[in-house]
Symmetry: C2
Subunit: 415 residues, 2 copies
Amino acid sequence: MKTVATRSHTRDHAMRARSEAVIPGGMFGHQNVASLPEGFPQFMERGRGSHIWDLDGNEYIDFMCSYGPIVLGHAHPKVDAAAAAQQAEADCQNGPSSKMVELAELLVATIPHADWTTFAKNGTDATTWCVTIARAATGRKKVLAAKGAYHGAAPWCTPRLNGTTPEDRAHLLYYSYNNLESVEAAIEAAGDDTAAIIVSPFRHDAGFDSELVNPAFARGVREICDRTGAALILDDVRAGFRLDMGGSWETVGVRPDLSAYSKAIANGYALAAVAGNDRFRDGVRQVFATGSFWFAAVSMAASIATIQAMKEERGVEAMTRAGDLFREGLAAQAESHGLRIRQTGPVQMPFLTFSDDADYRKAMIFTGEAVKRGVYLHPRHNWFLSAAHTEDDIQSALEVTDVAFEQVRKAFGAG
Amino acid sequence: MKTVATRSHTRDHAMRARSEAVIPGGMFGHQNVASLPEGFPQFMERGRGSHIWDLDGNEYIDFMCSYGPIVLGHAHPKVDAAAAAQQAEADCQNGPSSKMVELAELLVATIPHADWTTFAKNGTDATTWCVTIARAATGRKKVLAAKGAYHGAAPWCTPRLNGTTPEDRAHLLYYSYNNLESVEAAIEAAGDDTAAIIVSPFRHDAGFDSELVNPAFARGVREICDRTGAALILDDVRAGFRLDMGGSWETVGVRPDLSAYSKAIANGYALAAVAGNDRFRDGVRQVFATGSFWFAAVSMAASIATIQAMKEERGVEAMTRAGDLFREGLAAQAESHGLRIRQTGPVQMPFLTFSDDADYRKAMIFTGEAVKRGVYLHPRHNWFLSAAHTEDDIQSALEVTDVAFEQVRKAFGAG
């Protein structure tokens, strides 16, 4: 890995200038690095396993995994081979290939609550589709969501209201994550009109510490849905296939009616899925949802290979081991530097924040010092591990974070 | 090509039975063949140029082109080589590759009204994004759309209301395509609150004859937008890159403020784009729109190769030549069989309907007889040509349609 002194971002900066001319602001969406520390490259070039290279050839150990999709490591040989074999036949056709059925069978066999699945391209497609299925099946309108939760970028759920109208969320009611009384209050406000409760497997709102689900809360929303006839929608877009291959609430023994998948489902190939139980099978048939590329075969072949490889390689366990090691190392380093930190979320999707750091200035220094030494973290968003992260990767990353913690202490002192 | 007698659908039917168990109804969305004539395969296996093969190995000349995406022919060597070269480096990363900038530059150079572009995955992403950009930029809410037009499958525009709420279209007003008075009436009803007029380059509503735009209508909506400050949004998702490489209304000399692209933009690789002028550059930056795979590089590399190949091969002209030949041949055949037909829409996206056939029974026989002889048409949806359709393809197809017309006449008589 190049040392700090030899790392250059010349090509990245030139490309940003070109981009500025033809893309508003030079970049859009969640991968815009404008608000990240200097040293974060905007343009990426290559990925292999747990390592990535930017446009200037700088190498990083990748702890964002493309914001989730890369679950087996970049360019996983079996996944890429399956995708290439399918691409040699066809991808987007007048109908699906048999790979769609094979994938649906594999998902139904893998996800205990699923009796069926359907496919789309974006996580937002899947969460939106879950909501429309629930409304069609129940004949009701109200949907309960956690305050501040991210369920996608459509007008009904985008975190930034510009360009939306109040009516886009006319039938949304909000509860507080892990607070069952707030769910009951929203249910009462909705009267007999609750179509669904949508919930993330854990609280992973950007800009906040992560918060694992309280098993009693998960059981409670399940009971409320059973009592009221509302659909329990698990938004497993971000966490799916990292916590448990059967769905992230298998870890607490609670099964949703509908679940939304995307990100890690095909190790980086564009795919989303809705999984549901038989109660909602007819609801799917009532809703019109489709897209030009939703039946394309390559991402489905990649998904089959991804799920098989995750099982063969025991990917969840591998991520958990690497994540435990990273968390322990970070905790020990922070203590040695006299810094108080919080590490939250599942270890496969770690997140680290500093005490007295509401404006993330310490986090900016920490991740800024790390990225220029070849460790790609994020100051305000949970990180992602992959099954390709080795003990060596973690040890190499810890050598860098030790220096990064030191810089935080130098800038802000201990505490 | 196999003769009718030797064509079998054994594997297709077996796969449908498997699919039924794990996908509600066995299939969903626009590629569901449940309402198409017997003989239409559900599952597709392979594509090369203008020819496709189903799961049972039956070969067809493809006049649907995957409902639009395949514009250069299936498995175009240059496009697939560009995609494979990019895939060998990386696809979905922590940021875009430089291919995003190259593609944006190419689109801005190709589309006269475009000063900038952004990228997504679905046509619906692009049309929805146009609407939110227009609302954000104008600070207004109302959007005018043509009655019966298809702008995607999101709650605000899906043709089937199940699972949506009335509020999803609270700020939509409707006009009649090619009827400027109806646009003026909707503008009046919207008061000072019109954010946008969204319009298809021609009327291509499923289940209706297509209707080319009246140039005076196109100029009229442009003038209304200029007068009121509303954004003119051209939904070029379906027609883009088939009528004119610079946008479908270049054919009538009218330039939109925002345009939505998808389908043909990358010859089958999943990609969508919004193109806009500088007036709406700031609006883009106000709206939060993103997706896990929106910055993935492979489809962008494929799109660059697609647009370059379309220019090199003069793809629009090739489709026009093939389309003219097909239209003339079909007209002569129908006349020879004493059948009155209408052929509508641009010849690159042909559509054929029969007189006295409101229930499409004649169209069902026509396309059913054609598909079992190896010509893949559609009874109720416009067809698509590609630059790979040769004069031989058209002559071979016409041999089949002659028999298909004969069967229509046998079943319903002349007229």
